[in-house]
């Protein structure tokens, strides 16, 4: 445990001291804020148009049900944030393992009391922590809106959980990709590719059988994430993201064994 603690401290200092991490955090927070305010501005304009059209002053009764804060602002923001995370998180994870390989410091780590499993756990745990911090920072504006929109704390908690799990899922994919290459660029590109493909299989469903389409749908990120956005917390969806993280950790651990038996 001493060795694991030492590595956790080192990884924490390394990630939270990295400019890339803060650029990624700012990028996600900025994109979220911009999209949020843009949709909020549009929503206010729509409200004004509907309410003004009654010609008798400002009458909110004529506003149809489908023009509401959730559908017009929050839901599109969450959709965009889901994709933004896929774009941004691999930038955060690309160096985790690949930089160690490129520098040759993975050999140093392996020569200590640290096992490959501990190295994987430490790297995943610290990135998960950063994703949590990033989600909290990005969630401030939308959370204030959803709270004022009267959706309640439970819905808010479900959305935050969904966002965090989605971020952790994408981070896990990025970390697993980073474990198989010494190039940060390749790690990021592979992370993007895998996460985008896994995001939604809707485009492929017309070309495959219904059974295959169901299997693909069960594997996709978007339906799971979308469920949380609607305020639904299901054990099945939590288990999906947990399983995704575990599979990616197992793959990262496997990369050490493959290097031991494969080419240097």
């Amino acid at each position: 445990m001493t060795a694991l603690r030492a590595l956790l401290r080192k990884e924490l200092a390394s990630l939270f001291g990295s400019p890339t991490a803060y650029v990624t955090l700012m990028l996600v927070a900025l994109v979220t804020a911009l999209i949020f305010f843009d949709h909020l501005r549009l929503y206010n304009q729509i409200l004004f148009v509907y309410a003004s059209s009654s010609m008798g002053g400002f009458d909110t009764d004529v506003i149809p049900d489908y023009v509401n804060l959730w559908d017009s602002v929050f839901f599109p923001v969450m959709e965009t944030l889901g994709l933004t995370l896929i774009g941004a998180v691999p930038l955060l994870t690309m160096r985790a393992f690949s930089e160690e390989r490129a520098r040759g410091t993975d050999e140093l780590l392996i020569s200590t009391s640290l096992s490959p499993g501990q190295i994987v756990i430490a790297k995943f745990a610290i990135v998960f922590l950063f994703v949590l911090a990033m989600m909290a920072a990005s969630f401030v504006y939308p959370a204030s809106a959803i709270e004022r929109g009267g959706l309640g704390a439970q819905h808010l908690a479900a959305v935050f959980l969904g966002l965090t799990l989605h971020g952790i899922g994408v981070a896990s994919i990025g970390l697993a990709c980073s474990a198989f290459t010494s190039s940060q660029l390749v790690a990021a590109a592979a992370g993007w590719a895998v996460a985008f493909v896994l995001w939604d299989f809707g485009w492929i469903e017309p070309f495959v059988s219904e059974r295959t389409a169901n299997v693909l749908d069960a594997l996709a990120l978007h339906p799971r994430y979308g469920s949380f956005s609607e305020g639904v917390v299901s054990l099945e969806n939590i288990a999906y993201f947990g399983a995704l993280a575990l599979v990616c950790m197992a793959l990262a651990r496997l990369s050490f064994d493959l290097r031991r038996v494969g080419s240097a």
Partner: protein, 248 residues
């Protein structure tokens, strides 16, 4: 703390390779190597680039698995008991294989922690190696800002934190200027007789200065082994390094 206990168990440990083979696809990097590195000696592993020296070291540390044969450190196999092997090893790598953004003190704290040291024993170990390798004055500087000579001192210091009975040193003076080479070689010379040192180098002068026994690898095969005088004392020791298809 385990590291210190291991350090006390013996002044040096033996490395025994038996029919050790490592292939990368069709390429045989280490070919049925039988080699004994005796305990408590400074043993030079020589050979031209691509001879299989680094692969041999990686097999000893357990970073790579052998394709055939086995290697034991203090009687422990790096396959069956990798942890027992790693606890007995201090690994000094090339200077480029450090964390340049980390400060020397932080790096030594991390390296000691990663070897199971904590609290007062860790602080004592850092103080001991800082004094031994003259790092006290640069403790707060980032490793990347140090000269290559000092970076190599940091690399030596991290390998010494747990006082290992076996020190593996891979090309310790590669990329250093003559003065820095002399400094690092002097530090390594001070270790003579205190533990087993496996020195991997292609510098014959370095081997003559530091090693009491040497082995020469070429194309993964052992072409000579003996005392430094026996192996490198001939008229043209470079002959051992030259590729010769006719040679068995």
């Amino acid at each position: 703390m385990q590291g210190s206990a291991v350090g006390r168990e013996a002044r040096g440990v033996e490395i025994v390779a038996e029919k050790l083979t490592r292939r990368f696809g069709d390429h045989v990097a280490v070919d049925a190597l039988d080699l004994v590195v005796p305990a408590n000696t400074t043993f030079g592993l020589l050979g031209p680039n691509g001879a299989g020296k680094t692969t041999f070291i990686r097999l000893v540390t357990g970073f790579l698995l052998p394709s055939a044969g086995r290697v034991r450190v203090a009687g422990y196999s790096s396959i069956d008991r990798p942890r027992a092997v790693r606890e007995r090893i201090g690994f000094v790598m090339e200077t480029s294989r450090l964390y340049p953004e980390m400060r020397v003190a932080s790096f030594l704290r991390f390296a000691g922690g990663a070897r199971g040291l904590c609290g007062a024993p860790l602080a004592e170990a850092i103080e001991r190696v800082s004094e031994r390798f003259g790092l006290a004055s640069v403790a707060r500087r980032p490793i990347g800002n140090l000269s290559k000579g000092y970076q190599q001192r940091v690399s030596l210091a991290q390998a010494f934190l747990h006082d290992p009975p076996l020190l593996i040193v891979d090309e310790p003076t590669g990329g250093l200027d003559p003065v820095q080479q002399d400094e690092v070689q002097s530090l390594l010379a001070d270790l003579t007789g205190t533990r087993t040192v496996l020195l991997c180098t292609h510098d014959l002068g370095e081997a003559r200065r530091l090693a009491s026994r040497v082995a020469v690898l070429r194309a993964g095969r052992l072409v000579a082994e003996g005392t430094t005088g026996e192996v490198l004392g001939g008229a043209d020791p470079l002959e051992l390094f030259r590729a010769d298809e006719a040679r068995p």
